[in-house]
Symmetry: C2
Subunit: 376 residues, 2 copies
Amino acid sequence: MTQRFDFDVTARDGKARGGVISTPRGEVRTPAFMPVGTAATVKAMLPGSVRATGADILLGNTYHLMLRPTAERIAGLGGLHRFMNWDHPILTDSGGFQVMSLSGLRKMNEDGVTFKSHIDGSSHFLSPERSMEIQRLLGSDIVMCFDECPALPATEERVAHSMRLSMRWAERSRAAFGDRPGHALFGIMQGGVTPELRAESAQKLCATGFDGYAVGGLAVGEGQAAMFGVLDYATDLLPADKPRYLMGVGKPDDIVGAVERGIDMMDCVLPSRSGRTGQAFTRRGVGNLKNARHQSDPRPLDEACSCPCCNGYSRAYLHHVLRAQEIIASMLLTWHNLHYYQELMAGLRGAIAAGGLAGFVAEFHAARGQGDMEPV
Amino acid sequence: MTQRFDFDVTARDGKARGGVISTPRGEVRTPAFMPVGTAATVKAMLPGSVRATGADILLGNTYHLMLRPTAERIAGLGGLHRFMNWDHPILTDSGGFQVMSLSGLRKMNEDGVTFKSHIDGSSHFLSPERSMEIQRLLGSDIVMCFDECPALPATEERVAHSMRLSMRWAERSRAAFGDRPGHALFGIMQGGVTPELRAESAQKLCATGFDGYAVGGLAVGEGQAAMFGVLDYATDLLPADKPRYLMGVGKPDDIVGAVERGIDMMDCVLPSRSGRTGQAFTRRGVGNLKNARHQSDPRPLDEACSCPCCNGYSRAYLHHVLRAQEIIASMLLTWHNLHYYQELMAGLRGAIAAGGLAGFVAEFHAARGQGDMEPV
């Protein structure tokens, strides 16, 4: 196993790339989808089951973990991998995004952000330096720069100001991260939907130099068309030999469109969160198992799916356990959804390797266009 | 595999017996503990995981299943085994006990009980005949007679009246059950804590003739000493060549004492329900992982336990996911507790087979007397 962080592009189809990220913790096949393990668990899943869906890497949330159980406690227990019983790569976010979306009273200045915990109201501070320290304590394999990101729509002036602050913080993150062989630091491009700001951001990040580059500030309310509009040029602004990560994306068709536009990594709570509310993703689109149409349906969610949910349980059973608010409903639907997402990624990787991405994407959209099976 | 229901006592140690129940669905090693799968799921567990703990048989609740998703729907979907993806034996209760403990307005007469659902207030009727029909629709391997049981303390007159009604209902259950090769019908002894009433009940049941006999009306508030007091003579009133089932029991020391007194089967929600509240059973007693003493403890719940919870997770992790109200807390602690219960049963069976039950029981109590490990 390699002792350093590396990325090899092994196939190209249009702007899409297939490749492998190598780390001392194992390989990540790209394009990769990263399930979200917010509080040191992918909700309703055991880590072995997450791995069985085909996941090579998880995402952990710095904001949640710094508040509970704290980064220092996790470090004392041997790091996040051992703590949560996942010995493959972990990427951690910087905490910046969730400070903005979840915490109480905030006070931001050039130095960093002071905020109150959404759990108990206690006061905390995050800065580029502290975020790097926390992610080091967690033992993260891929560390994200500390940044700030306004929700869209926002004025161009606000977006520009925020982007330039994030770029200064990216330099401080780089300096604080230091030299850690086998661990990677990713920069985060900002700039909203303004090409000139995106270009300025990319130029600054590339001048500093990172092991990978995220496209930040998307999937924050701008809609798919605007997101694809940015991705159409944003990936070209980033180095071809480094992984490109689209943060917080997304729905299956968002993922397919992002991969077509040259994205290598994504993460989203959607497959796990949706599973807990009864929503299931299949090749034929999205359905909610709470719907009465499923109450006597003996068929699995997807007859072509090989996941444990589809191989042991009827739609009628899933409907029943959802209505009865049984934990197994979350367990089975999360497993199915994560399996679906990983199968989609495997399909994308295979299609890129074979030079057949356009056909794969056409079939993907055609199957979804059919809609769910007719009721029995 | 056998085509009929059978029971062989293969070892005795004092009053304790080791044996095997054979059914077309598989064997049940006795003494057996049956995890409770109330609403067609052992809460927070996949059936394969329940099996992995060593369970040979599950209990399903007629009352819950008749209300949702209904016995008729389960029958239409191929029966309870297929519905819940468990292909080993299932015992179902009659619904009688839970009508009394859970339902709204009830009206009971000689014929049966009319009651309102605790879910939606709808009106339902249960009688010996309807209970037999529901348990047949579910496809239960071991069917329980429909009975009535007053909570203790109750006057002897009330207990006697209730017992005699239950004995008439047992005859009607027997007649309604009919001849179903491979399926068993168990009678339920009542009579509270009064030896004469217990004897009268046993005599009536034996005159009718059943495939097994439950000791009912215990674990309803009378305390362990009173329960053991009844068991001291009650098992002797039942046929030696049929399985004896103590319903709704219990804590680990209840189980050990019941086995010592000649009980072959038990069921209880305790290991699964406790798991969901953070309570863990180990050889050294009971502890609650929510307690702050565990928050930095790198050790597993029980260093000698081979379950997936103890083989992947620290007490600190369990404490964290409990505090964060993560589903994995219920998953891991339920698994551990069911594993502990099944290990206890395996230990009891091994000790009986070796003629060493007294020594096993002494060690069981000595280990519990030590209490939990000292904090680190």
